[in-house]
């Protein structure tokens, strides 16, 4: 894409955000939307400042981030492990891959009440729920990556006397890495959304809980402060990840 068209696209996107903020400002100052649904920007800003000052902000962020990190870690380890075991033979892939893929098409949110039953409303139920959801993209992408590794590499490694782990470490994993990386990225964003979702549904702490609580207490300014914060975080994360991926692709 040429620089000129990138410039045009970027300007349109910035204009889009500017228009959204303009509309938000316009409808709230003229009073055409009740402040319950959409509070004025100033109110949201001061609600955010208050959140940070009272320390609620950082404690909620810490809970949510820890939960996401734990869930993602479990999802990645389990996903790669299961994928490694399944790709030991073509037959096993044929048996398990469709099962894993079609399970992922069911809304696994259905299992959330079970996790609440097993682990209570503390962070553990969110870890279990998000890890379950995040497991699938890792497993599916790793299976796809590992089972598409060129047969010649494997035979060469074996003929040079590589052990099973050597082959995995030096041949299978590096060859499948780009596809696995996609799985890790998808899994991260799914874990992220699942933790927030779990906290919104039923929780004692965290960002999701704070959003739900603010809505229940009819404090839209505080709710919007959290929502805007999460949206900005997601957008930033997306930019960072895609910049990183573009850099990698250039190599």
């Amino acid at each position: 894409m040429s620089d000129a068209s990138t410039f045009t696209t970027r300007s349109i996107q910035i204009a889009f955000v500017a228009i959204m903020i303009g509309v938000w400002y316009g409808v709230t100052t003229t009073g055409s939307v009740t402040p319950l649904f959409l509070p004025p920007i100033d109110a949201v800003k001061s609600a955010f400042v208050r959140l940070v000052q009272t320390g609620q902000f950082w404690s909620a962020v810490r809970v949510t981030l820890t939960t996401i990190a734990q869930a993602w870690l479990i999802a990645v380890v389990m996903g790669i492990l299961v994928a490694y075991l399944v790709t030991r033979s073509k037959f096993l892939v044929a048996v398990f891959e469709p099962v894993i893929a079609s399970t992922f098409a069911i809304p696994l949110t259905l299992l959330f009440p079970l996790f609440i039953l097993f682990f209570g409303i503390g962070p553990n139920s969110k870890v279990a729920y998000a890890a379950t959801y995040g497991f699938f993209p890792v497993a599916l992408n790793t299976i796809a990556g590992l089972s598409s590794v060129n047969e010649h590499y494997l035979r060469a490694a074996r003929s040079m006397g590589a052990s099973g782990f050597d082959t995995f470490r030096h041949v299978l994993f590096p060859a499948a890495f780009p596809v696995i990386l996609t799985g890790l990225r998808v899994s991260f964003f799914i874990s992220f959304a699942s933790v927030l979702g779990g906290e919104t549904l039923s929780s004692a702490a965290g960002i999701g809980k704070n959003i739900a609580l603010a809505a229940e207490l009819m404090e839209p300014a505080r709710m919007y402060a959290w929502i805007v914060f999460v949206i900005c975080t997601t957008v930033t994360l997306n930019f960072v990840v895609s910049a990183f991926e573009n850099r990698r692709r250039e190599y």
């Binding site: 068209s5 045009t8 696209t9 349109i12 996107q13 889009f16 319950l36 649904f37 037959f91 044929a94 048996v95 398990f96 099962v99 079609s102 098409a105 069911i106 809304p107 949110t109 259905l110 299992l111 959330f112 009440p113 079970l114 609440i116 039953l117 097993f118 964003f189 992220f192 959304a193 927030l196 979702g197 919104t200 549904l201 960002i207 999701g208 959003i211 739900a212 603010a214 809505a215 229940e216 839209p220 709710m223 959290w226 929502i227 999460v230 949206i231 997601t234 957008v235 997306n238």
Partner: protein, 270 residues
Amino acid sequence: MTAAQADAAARRAPAARQGFSYATRVRLTRWIIFAGLLLAWEVYGQTLANPRLISPPSGVLYALFSEILADSRIVTAIFESFREVIVAYVASIVLGLAIGLGVGWSNFGRRSFFPIVLLLYAIPQVILLPLFVLIFGIGPACKIAFGISHGVFPIIVNVIAGMRNVNPLYLRSAASMGGSAVDVARHIYFPHMVPSLFTGLRLGMTMTLLGVILAELYVSTQGIGYWTKVYAETFDPAPLLALIAVLALMAIILNSLVRVGERRFTRWRN
């Protein structure tokens, strides 16, 4: 029979004895593993498990008929969520096609608005769930709206992706032969975007189900969310598992229907 013939016959024998084709063996293994897991769960549930947390499959099956299907309030709640999924899905398709065609029609629209769509798609929409309840109340409207907000994005994205793959030569020749916008949509975009469109429809179904179920679980004062909350809080796993199984079955059936449609409409390409 010479020794060589006997040897060859012996080598053929195992293959003949197995007799099953590869696909059958795959399916058979899958069912055996499934049955084994079910059996292990049954044994575990009957002996070691804490009955307040885990119920054996037989208990779940019993609860399905004695508690879930026998209670007309629960059956109504299940049908209600089914109706919400259908309405949300149809609305997602209509909206997704309209927005997708609008954005994907021109190079300009694609380049400027597609990244915005992708950005919106990336936001974890579940954080907006309390807002949806605030705006739409706790009735079906909220669940349908939330289902649409989930289902519409994969459809938009795949419609645009499908339109991008259409060979520009076709578009130019249609234009030079005086094809109207409707002609171009009907005879060029639609046939070429079928595979991508159906990927979108399949993902759209998964996401619509997710959105509706999330909203159902969030609104815990009525519908399915109420019952799951009751069972989870009273440590009554059998009906909870039965209810989850019914909803999962609904999801599986809806997903398979979309997949059957996909296979039927993409067959001509092969």
